[in-house]
Amino acid sequence: MTGPIKIADILERNRAKVAPGVSPAVVEAVATIEERNQFDDDRVAVRRELREVLKNETQALLRGEETGRDS
């Protein structure tokens, strides 16, 4: 019981509820970034990291679409 709440758990629960199409791995990755940087007021570097996650996931989604179409 004791110890901080894991943000990733809350985000995952809501991912399943409001955005089931988003991969759990993406939510876990962004949760880790946000947890690590929650006391950091310089958000430029944080958003750079987030952009990287989004970019990779977008590529994966597009590849998935193509694979789906081909098969």
Binding site: M1, P4, I5, R13, A19, L54, Q59, L62
Partner: protein, 665 residues
Amino acid sequence: MIVETLEMENFGPFYGLAEIQLGGGGRPVVIVHGDNMSGKTSILNAIRWALYGVAKDRLGNPMPTRQLINRDAYDEGQYRVSVRLHITQKTSKGQSKFILRRQKRARKADREPTSEEQFEEYLDIDHDGNVVHASEFSEIVAELLPEGIARFFLFDGELLDEYEELVGEGGEKGAAAVKHSIEMILGVPAVTKGRDDFALLEAEVAKKLRGEAKHDEASREATESAERLEAERTDLKDDLKVLNAQRKEVGVELASVEDILSASVSLREDAGALRELRQRVKDLEEDAATKREKRREKVRELWRDALAPTIEYHVARLSRERDATYQKLGKLREIVTRLAGLERGGLRDTCPQCGQKLPSETLKKLRAEQQSLRAEAEDLRGEADEERLNDLTAVAARLRDIAPANVAEIIASIEDDLRRNAASAYKAQQEIKALEERLRDEDPDKALLYEQKRKQYLHLAEELKTKINALGEEIAAKDREIDQATRIIQQHKVPALRTLSCELDLVKDVEKVFVESVDDLIRELRERVQVEASSVFEQLTTDETYDGLRINEHYGLTIVDGKGRDVEVRSAGAEQVVALSLIGALNRLAVKRGPVIMDTPFGRLDVKHRANILKFIPTLADQVVLLVHEGEVDRKRDLDPIASRIARKYEILHPTSSRSEILSA
């Protein structure tokens, strides 16, 4: 994070170098005993100042550097102050060691600084033996213990006041800072900042998409519409920026006016206190003079104590004699009355009432009685003297006035009074000195001038708030319209825009997850805080009829009784126990752990609560430093039960008003 050692130079009452080892090697508790004004708060302030560059006075206002420097050192021309912290931080690979030092010194070493600007700040960092550039100081401190949550670690009376304000009627606004800090320590920023990051990323990707869509014929109309809306939104945002800047300026001015007002209030209070203390010293001096005079008089009467046994003997003798005389006088009065009766009858042969002749035998008896009474009266007249009786009474009374006198006891009691008087006068003089120091170069009448300014700024702030809210609504409406235009572009499914469109959908979905999670997280955290705080409260409270605590949306906690009812009235001690329960719960749930340093935390607690809290404190954190005075924590009774958890004990000695020393106890 553990603060292993604190080194101070000319900080507060600590002249020259002072060092205190706070690391316990597995034992969490360090106790520092010190009288009021000896420097306990300065230890807390030294740690706070070293980390964040801010030390607070008793009202919670930042202290200027001049006031941080030890007075003797300053008078000797040492215009510098510094604090060094040796810190150990647990890491995934073991532990890291940091040495952080903050120093402030006069820009011109040989000239007395007259303003804050004439001091220069120097920061040194050593990380595992490597020198780190000073520009990284704040970042390292934020990593070790962010300032926003420090209030739950560097714990003083102010936190309790703020917390009590939080739970008090209408106190939500005033305690907003505490609520914000609570959410920070619990990890809410991970979600709120995430939500804001994704809102910005969404705007960024949408803008890119619209930029690319310009080249597509089918999307042109929607693109142009979005561009026009964006231009309008940019104008609105520019206006908003201007208003926000104005609001910020007004806020800064208001804060500065409130600081001055608060200082003025304190100044007025201090000036009032100074007047009262001076009057008190005068009263005490007059009282002492009266008592000394009384003592002189009593010393002159000491002979009465020596004569007391003799006088008591004579008083007893005179009293006996007086009682005998009184009785004889009474007897004589009776005889005289009887004789008068006999003589009124004339002892004739016939009864004066009925006229019958008296028998000769009766007449003879009456005459014999008359003769006997006359003889008895004659005897008594020498002794049953009324004047003698009065003299005896008066002499005995005069002697009683003299003894028993108990003059020696009275003198001893006067001397006790004089000692108490001298102690009170000394304490008052010390307080006068401290107040005079604080009031040096101050004008106690500036409050009135600034009250007017405060009202103007408050009015202006309210006007700006209304305008900003209206602009915010306009911008939100534009956002919705731009979003609509962007959807139209996406619906055209232009192949060249496929990647950006897919990225936009993704970023919107993730943003939705964050938006949805903020309230969930806060709700869950509140429930956890309630459970943990109740569990701590059960350990701390001495009232078995209490069942636990109930939390409200501002993290205010209410005691609940066995029937589930709120306990509405609670004592100052109960407030403190509830506040400590919250702090205990927050430490259990915190995303960052740090040393808990408590300044005078037991002031309002009774013996049983204090014992419960002392038992609980070693479990509060890996390092707990208690800065206490003798009346709060008894070295034997209170500390013996937790002796095995105490790493070190110190005592602060305060030989002069401007110097203190830390000794290992």
